[in-house]
Assembly symmetry: C2
DNA sequence: CTGAAAGCGCTTACAG
DNA sequence: CTGAAAGCGCTTACAG
């Protein structure tokens, strides 16, 4: 193995130049051949690819990003990693983008618009190829940053009427409505809504709940228990106890997320509250374990993997410069009725 | 705002050059001032910082990486995101590295050495500043890649006797041993070990379990139920049912992870199996919800946030070129006894 | 303590 | 279809 002599600051790395020399072409041609650009003689492409393989050439992403003013990175900003929901979305995004040579970067906002803005600043400096954001709720500055950057962007989890804004999700409002309607159909009349975190999507579900109960003349604001604390199994139990203390006549509880609902179910078990006999309980998202609860939890199955896949595909087409026919893709949801209601 | 005229391929971006001009210094000085390098007159530093702030200058990471042959990226490779364990580690790593200007990159290996090797190849091409890997179990090629790159690397979750290898974790073997010992002390004699995934750390816990039972002359290989399937709440229930069908005399079950144990507990509830009356049950990791189970789950609390923080700190010192006094940091674990045993 | 020159490894126009 | 030149925006030695 010959140690190639370089003038200064040798990095030890195989460069495009060396590949080009080995293949007997110019670096430009090698670059084009390796990137699969059209209009290079098939024979040269083969020679370059062979040389690259033999030398173990790996393109330098930094050099590439600097020269082309665009990296292969796609930041995905999610509120949390502790909600399985977002992990599923991320997995799907990653496996869709990966084969196309794009690298998924995970950013966690903790539901904090300031943190999101900061992340956006950092990531945008990296000249990302595309951007995936959760929902529409962010600071005006963040919105401006994205717009000015010109980086293609798709929003996750929600829908919009606005044009020129791309998103993939489902109607949080309708899902909240339909689950409530199910409880009403089951004969429940004092249906509580118990929520934590109170992020925009949770509040959209709350609106669906309200709309449904108002239509049935069953709405009672005192049946809403809204906690800004982070959602957790433990909190679900605590909130259920709070609720039953102040409103012992409640005959159904709609928890805004399955972790709360699981906690509620476990608390009921501990307290000897019959479910669904005395109180029906339902959750949201169909998280892991909900089908194993005693009784199994009625919930809304949300298409999170599909959202990840579809949003990544939409972003791929935007990055190619195409204009998707539908800018707001509705992937729906599925009411999943089990023993708890 | 004046549009600065540039020769060609204008990126619209504020460059170091413009900051330097505004501050009336050379770009080199501006660079040094902004990076906080020693040996720049305090007054110049102030002028440069002011100019940078006023112009809204954000350094280009690609240019920086290319020129310095080192990026600010720190890839962290974990097996899964669906185990809260790793999410906690990641969060801690991220918050430790962030203030020092390093960017955490999350890579998911799915417990697959081939995938890990591929990720390593990709990430190493980015000239990372440091590397965080889960455990020691990987392909020889992966090991070589890391070694040859010279990138500082810290291993998570396990300990080692080897010198020159850096790691932060706890003894999986001892944790498995101690939990088993607890069950023995509780008077249990037919103690099963139920595991899924069967990754290296799970098998180290199995070894601890075996060592303990052998010492008590209670070891019986037929009490081990090892499934290669991915760990989940649902699987825990299924495995418990399998176990009790073939070994109805079992009086305690050590599940290798809390999700399995939670599933086991729920299945017991469904089947009317008294816990701990007929069968004691214990898990591992003290995941969310374990304290809310009925009965609450005995488990081993593992220091995952601490592992994230300590490993990131160790990496920071390695990246500074320091040599940590202790290359294998043992953060211990805590037996957490609750109602299920 | 400060700076002019060169270089990091690639791609973008511009020619031919 | 192929290539010589210039440039992306920064930092690394080397001087002084």
């Amino acid at each position: 193995m010959s140690t190639t002599e370089r003038k200064r600051r040798p990095s030890g790395r195989i460069t495009l130049n060396e590949v080009a020399q080995a293949a007997g072409v110019s670096p430009i041609t090698a670059s084009r051949a390796l990137r699969g650009e059209r209009g290079v003689a098939a024979e040269l492409v083969a020679r370059v690819q062979l040389a690259a393989k033999e030398l173990g050439y790996v393109p330098d992403p930094a050099a590439r990003a600097l020269a082309s003013q665009r990296s292969a990175q796609v930041p995905v900003l999610v509120p949390l990693l502790s909600n399985a929901l977002f992990v599923d979305v991320l997995e799907a995004v990653h496996s869709t983008l990966q084969p196309h040579g794009f690298q998924t970067l995970i950013g966690v906002t903790h539901y904090d618009p300031e943190q999101e803005e900061q992340l956006l600043k950092t990531y945008l400096a990296h000249r990302p190829a595309g951007l995936l954001l959760t929902g529409f709720d962010r600071t005006e500055a963040a919105r401006q940053l994205v717009a000015k950057s010109g980086v293609p962007c798709v929003h996750l989890m929600e829908l919009t009427q606005a044009s020129g804004v791309y998103c993939v999700g489902f109607s949080q409002h309708d899902a909240g409505h339909d689950l409530t309607e199910h409880l009403v159909q089951r004969g429940r009349r004092r249906i509580a809504f118990v929520a934590a975190q109170l992020d925009p999507r949770t509040m959209q579900r709350a609106e669906g709940y309200r709309a449904c109960l108002r239509a049935h003349k069953l709405y009672d604001p005192r049946l809403e228990l809204l906690s800004p604390q982070p959602s957790s199994i433990r909190l679900g139990g605590e909130l259920l106890e709070d609720l039953l203390r102040t409103r012992p006549d409640v005959d159904a509880v709609f928890f805004c997320n399955d972790d709360l609902a699981q906690g509620g179910l476990l608390a009921a078990l501990r307290l000897g509250i019959e479910v669904p006999g005395r109180t029906a309980m339902a959750g949201f998202n169909d998280l892991s374990g909900s089908d194993q609860m005693v009784p199994p939890l009625t919930t809304v199955r949300t298409p999170r993997s599909a959202i990840g896949t579809a949003s990544a595909q939409m972003l791929l087409s935007l990055m190619r410069g195409e204009k998707p026919s539908n800018n707001s893709v509705d992937l729906g949801f599925e009411l999943t009725v089990r023993g708890s209601t």
